[in-house]
Assembly symmetry: C2
Amino acid sequence: MPGIIKERLFTPGPTPLLLEAQVQTLTATLHHRTEAFRQLMRESLDNLKYFFNTQNDVLIFTSSGTGAMEGAVTNLLSPGERVLVGTAGKFGERWLDLARVYGLEAVKVEASYGNTLNIEEMKRKLESEGPFRAVFVQATETSTGVSHDVKALGALVRELPDTCLVVDGITGLGTTELLPDEWGLDVVIGGSQKALMIPPGLAFASVSEKAWKLMAKSRLPRYYFDFSKERKNLAKGEASYTPATTLVVSLHGALRYIRQLGRENLISNAALLAEATRAAAQAQGLGLFAKGSPANAVTAICAPEGMDSGAIVKEMRVRFGAIIANGQGTMKGHIFRLAHLGYYDVADLFAVIAALEVVLKKLGHRVELGSGVRAAQEVYLQHHS
Amino acid sequence: MPGIIKERLFTPGPTPLLLEAQVQTLTATLHHRTEAFRQLMRESLDNLKYFFNTQNDVLIFTSSGTGAMEGAVTNLLSPGERVLVGTAGKFGERWLDLARVYGLEAVKVEASYGNTLNIEEMKRKLESEGPFRAVFVQATETSTGVSHDVKALGALVRELPDTCLVVDGITGLGTTELLPDEWGLDVVIGGSQKALMIPPGLAFASVSEKAWKLMAKSRLPRYYFDFSKERKNLAKGEASYTPATTLVVSLHGALRYIRQLGRENLISNAALLAEATRAAAQAQGLGLFAKGSPANAVTAICAPEGMDSGAIVKEMRVRFGAIIANGQGTMKGHIFRLAHLGYYDVADLFAVIAALEVVLKKLGHRVELGSGVRAAQEVYLQHHS
């Protein structure tokens, strides 16, 4: 029986758009060399500091988050320098790829998929295999739904005057408490299509004073992602090259919404949805892929024994218009992922959990209808008087 | 704990908007005396016939549905004429108000709130207290969630050459099978903010040949709602007076969506959501207000003994952003209403049922969490292989 099916994103980026912010693009004055636009940029930069929870400079680039990751590498390092990379999934591996492309000597600390980085091991490497110019990690590894203890890592790296800690916070920002200034996170990378609730196309990087000092000495080639040039121009409210003007307008609107809601509330919203999703999945007889330190950004759930997670992804889309993510790489077919980052609310959660229950049942998994929703409702009630 | 709360309409009008149709208003050429606009009007009129399921003329007015109801009265009748009104709620009573204002002699057949009209009683009145120039009813009475057997009524009235049957289909269209031509529904009234998925501001009336003939003799005063004048102008793709141009653009887009989806599928979508809502409410230990013939358009649910339905309405809004409707008139405080007409899907239903469960529990009703959702899921599964 065909009926109305609304498409709904539950992927860890792109995420549902804040329509109020999108609508503003229709009426904004959009030439990027006007005072009106500079004003918009300055306000956005100011609100980005609030979102990043930092007093450091925050840079804006028209690119995906990967562009700013590359920029962190090319702006901090010189050919042949040594870096420490903590990797626990597809996004950790991206740091290794970048190090390889730019001729850096990468030392790797690896956690198997589903596990969090062993900070003690990072400490041992820092002590025994250094000196390192930079340490690269994720705040949350989106491919496995695991978060890393970047606070503990920060405490180690801040003791090393010539080493910077670079954190990919693309899905960590707005879902996880991060204190770049107190914790010593020298560079934090963000992307627009995540907790910021706007479309893909903008990347962000916060840069500490320590990082600026080390950047002054680095010799890797860079042009578009030249952090120091961008800092100079952004001080005047300008981007070095034509920025994605409508996305800046969306960003401005979304940041205003986030300031009203409160950064802490945005984070606790994701935390609640993640906790309720974990409870629901377990009530539905499903395993969680993260063995510990599950991320608030996204929950990776194991498909039942013998069931292809791709079938779940497909049925969710076809039956309920719910777009969820399959596993990546070797995890494909084994896990699926539900995101909580950004513009999601409890009603969204109830809908997707109820839909998942129906899909699991149709695919032959023994699940009590309503059981996952009940678990999610109970988590909601524990947090709301 | 404050978090993200998205506002969602679950009211029986206005209903959720089809965003694709709204967006079209931004780029359309909008002067109403242009060929482009006339083309839009002609296509919309054609698609309205599809939506109404009729070969009769369908008229468009810039007004609420009540305006077209008034037009049906003033175009069909002459002072002092006798009309039969079937009433079972607040909207039935509106026909009585209109008859009084225009000095008509109204004979009333009344069903108490929550009951459907007794067609046998209508038949007896038609036979014993006539002749009547017109019979007025609702297809579905939105205030109580009851539908009426307009097919049976049509079979009676079509035997009377000088009597027209006027059906308020404002919430019946797109939620209930209506065959105006086969059943002899001479005038059917519609409104834009219902199953058509667009904002309030447009009203519609289909008019049969029989009705046009009787209208030629009617002498009540009318100007803005002059059906015959409107028919003449619409034949040229024009409205008599400046139409709500952006709403016509939205209408055009929404009707195209409905044609793609299929009228029957739009109706069965509402039927499924209504059936699942009834099952869910009963599983949650709630009574249904409609004693029989429940409407697909909207489900009226009794608040638990001793609980003010206004508290449910408020908690749904505050906790989950879900806007539901209280009872009207004497039903206020005793019932609440969940709508199914138009742009709603199964995921919307899961969300609102799960939210309702939480609210009922918080307000002290003994309800098993997940039980209503399970009942709704089971109805979904019965209808979807």
